[in-house]
Structures are given as C-alpha cells and as structure tokens.
C-alpha cells in the first residue's frame, strides 16, 4: 500500500517537473535537474546524521540493532551522495562549463563521500561483530565532529558559483510558488523513498540473523 502510494507520489512529482515547472531566467529548463539534485543531496546529509545518531545510541545501550541501522543508513547515504555528486557535476558542466572545479559545495559533498567511504571500508575490515560496532560508531562520531568546522572553513576558501540554497541567509525565497511546492514534494518523496529502502534492508538483515 505504502509502496503504491510512494510510486504514485514519485510519478506525480516527475510529471509536475516536466509539465508545470516554468523555465528559469539564466538556467532555462536545466533547472529540472535541481528537482532531482536537491532532494538527493538532502537525503545524503540526513543519512549521515542518522548514522551518527544511531552510533550514539549504540554506544549508550550496546544493542547491536542500532549498529545495523547505522551501517544501513551509511550505505544508503553513500548511494544518495553519489547520485547528488553526479547530478551536481552534470549541472555544473551544463551551466559553468566544467564537471568539477572545487566549488565549496563540491568540496563539502566530496568530503562527505570520503567519510562515507572510510566508514564503510573500516566496517569491512573488522571481523568481530561487537568490535566492529564499537569502532565504527566511534569513527562515525569523530567524523561528524568535522561538519561544523567545514561549514565555517570551506566558504572562506573558495568563491562559490552554486545557486543560493533555498533557505538562504537573507531568509528570502527567490522561487516561484509552483516550483517551491514541487520541490517540497520532491524532497518529501525522496525522504520517504530513503526511509522505505532503509526499513526494508534493516528488516531483511534482522530476519537473516
């Protein structure tokens, strides 16, 4: 039931993106990529914090289920992070003329990729289940410590061409109302999709054990 609803929701969003969203000045119809890119990037960051949150839970309670959740969130996070990086690079090629130029946003998403990669490699290299849970939880927390520093340091280093985020500093929405609603629907659909995948994988893992 949920899956059918989600399928309808996603197809509705896709339809809306291709038929209702107007072309934007300067970007034209390229703006359509944003309706894929923003939700996916949002989920990549969300999954990172969820993974860190479950690591805290694991260290507090020592229940292995939290470790599994943390691992699944990180693996899905890596997938969404890759999608966000690729869609962002395509957008960059079409509008700025190069796939990659170390724009601040590209740097931060790249670091997120590195952290996800390091976390999963670390997990793969430890045999004992409890030891793996403990050590990877510590690493997840340690890496989440860098986030506030990155938010502070990266924008000082490079000039950014990235379009202003939806919730920008001025707190002003520079978006057509239709676009905003479609974007919110897309973010919602993507988050629910992530959650469905997450529940499904965790459930399967639980059952196989």
């Amino acid at each position: 039931m949920v899956k059918i609803a989600l399928g309808l929701w996603i197809s509705g969003v896709v339809y809306a993106v291709f038929s209702m969203v107007p072309a934007v000045e300067g970007l034209g119809y390229l703006v359509r990529i944003a309706f894929f890119h923003i939700p996916v990037a949002w989920v990549a960051v969300l999954a990172f914090f969820l993974s860190a949150g479950w690591s805290v839970q694991y260290l507090r309670t020592r229940e292995i289920q939290y470790d599994r959740k943390s691992a699944v969130a990180a693996a899905l996070g890596l997938l969404f992070c890759l999608l966000a990086t690729i869609s962002g690079a395509i957008f960059a090629k079409l509008t700025w003329g190069a796939y990659w130029n170390w724009d601040p946003r590209q740097t931060t998403i790249f670091i997120l990729l590195l952290i996800y990669g390091a976390y999963l490699v670390l997990r793969a290299s430890i045999q004992d289940e409890e030891e793996r849970a403990r050590i990877s939880a510590v690493y997840a927390l340690l890496s989440s410590l860098t986030v506030p520093f990155l938010v502070f340091i990266i924008p000082r280093f490079y000039f950014s061409l990235h379009p202003e985020p939806v919730l920008n500093k001025v707190g002003k929405l520079e978006m057509n109302v239709v676009m905003l609603y479609v974007l919110l629907a897309a973010v919602g659909a993507c988050t629910v999709l992530f959650w469905q995948l997450f529940e499904c994988i965790v459930h399967n893992k639980q059952r196989s054990v």
Partner: protein, 225 residues
C-alpha cells in the same frame, strides 16, 4: 597484577617514557618518518630543479609532506601494542585517559622532531624565504598538534582492523581536512610575506581543542570493552 593504580599524570608520564624508550631502542618509527621526509622532499626538489614555486604550491607541498610522513609512522603507537600483544598488559596497568594522552604526547613530540628536521631542508631545497618566523612556528605548532591528535585516535581505531596502514590514511584524511586546508591557507600567506588572519589561527586552535576533547571522550569506548 598491580597493587596500586597510577594517577592520571603519573600514568601519562609512564606511558610516554615507555613509548620513548621502546622507540629509542629500535628507532623504527623515527627512521621511517625521517627517511620518508627526506625522500619526498628531495624527489620534489630534484624534479623541479632550482625553479622557485609559487607560495600556494609550496605551502601545499609542505603540508602534504608533513601529512604523509605522519601517516607513515604515527600509527605505530597502537598498532605495535596490538601486534606484540602488550596492549592487554597496558590495559591492566593504565587507565584509558593516561594511555590516550601519553600516546598523544609521544606523537606530538615525534612530529615536532620531524618538523624541526624538515623545515631547514624545506627552505634549502625549495628555495623558500621566510620572514615571519614567530607566526610560522605558531602555525607549524598548531598544525602538528592537529595531525598528531587526529592520527592518535585513528591509530587506536585501525589497530584492530586488517590492512592497518592503508586504512590509517583513509580514515585520518577526511577528519583532518578542515585543519589541513586552514594550515595550507595560513602558510601560503606566510610564504607570500603577509600576516595571516587571527581568525585562522583561532580556528586551528579551536579545531585542536575539539579533536582532543572528542578523542578523550571516545577513547574510553574503544579501551574498555
């Protein structure tokens, strides 16, 4: 079994002395660090000849050399304990905090020694003129502490994995990156003979404090099962 447990400071000192003594006997980590530094510096110098590089490139090279040297030797503090099995004994005698701070101090001293060795070679081989020594030393000091602090906690993590040395770099780099970028930024300014912002120095110091506090808290979860 020990009859009395050492208090934190004595324990820390004991760990530091023990590590220094072991290192002094074998000189393994120290020689690895120094040879690595020498090879990487001279290979750069050989390949570019006598051309002097732009400040930004030189600053990046300096920190890349220091980072990879650190990666070649600093994991030893925990990896060697694990491999020789002495980690069990250490766990009986010393508290977690004494171990992490003792090892951290040892790594900081090693890295200071390395920097002391690298900087003269660096100025010589790469044709660099430095005018603001106090500020430069300050940046090196903070940057070294950052590398050592991050490396110590990740060394504790990789000690129990397979493929330790490869994983060590992979785990350390993303965590160190904010510090790494700001050290390169500040050093670039020094080499271009201008004053780095005070906020940059403050940022590096704040980062060090955050990493050290976090590793002190998180280390207990690794140390005590």
């Amino acid at each position: 079994m020990p009859t009395t447990r050492l208090n934190l400071l004595n324990g820390l000192w004991a760990v530091l002395v023990k590590d220094s003594l072991c290192e002094f006997r074998t000189c393994y980590a120290l020689s690895a660090l120094f040879m690595f530094a020498l090879i990487s510096l001279t290979s750069i110098s050989m390949s570019i000849g006598v051309v002097s590089l732009p400040a930004q490139l030189t600053a990046a090279l300096l920190w890349i050399i220091l980072f990879f040297c650190a990666m070649s030797g600093l994991s030893r503090v925990f990896v060697q304990e694990q491999e020789s099995g002495s980690i069990v004994v250490l766990r009986i005698y010393a508290s977690g905090q004494a171990v992490i701070f003792g090892k951290l101090l040892f790594n900081v001293i090693m890295l200071f020694g390395l920097t002391f060795f690298v900087i003269p070679l660096f100025t010589m081989f790469l044709n660099v003129d430095i005018y603001r020594w106090p500020m430069f030393i300050m940046i090196l000091f903070l940057g070294d502490i950052g590398i050592a602090a991050t490396a110590t906690i990740t060394a504790a993590l990789v000690a129990k994995t397979q493929g330790k040395s490869a994983l060590f770099t992979v785990l350390t780099f993303p965590i160190l990156l904010p510090q790494f970028l700001s050290s390169i930024g500040a050093t670039t300014k020094i080499l271009a003979d201008s004053q780095p912002d005070m906020s940059e120095i403050m940022f590096m110091a704040a980062y060090n404090v955050a990493i050290i506090i976090a590793s002190s808290i998180l280390f207990d979860y690794i140390w005590y099962d």
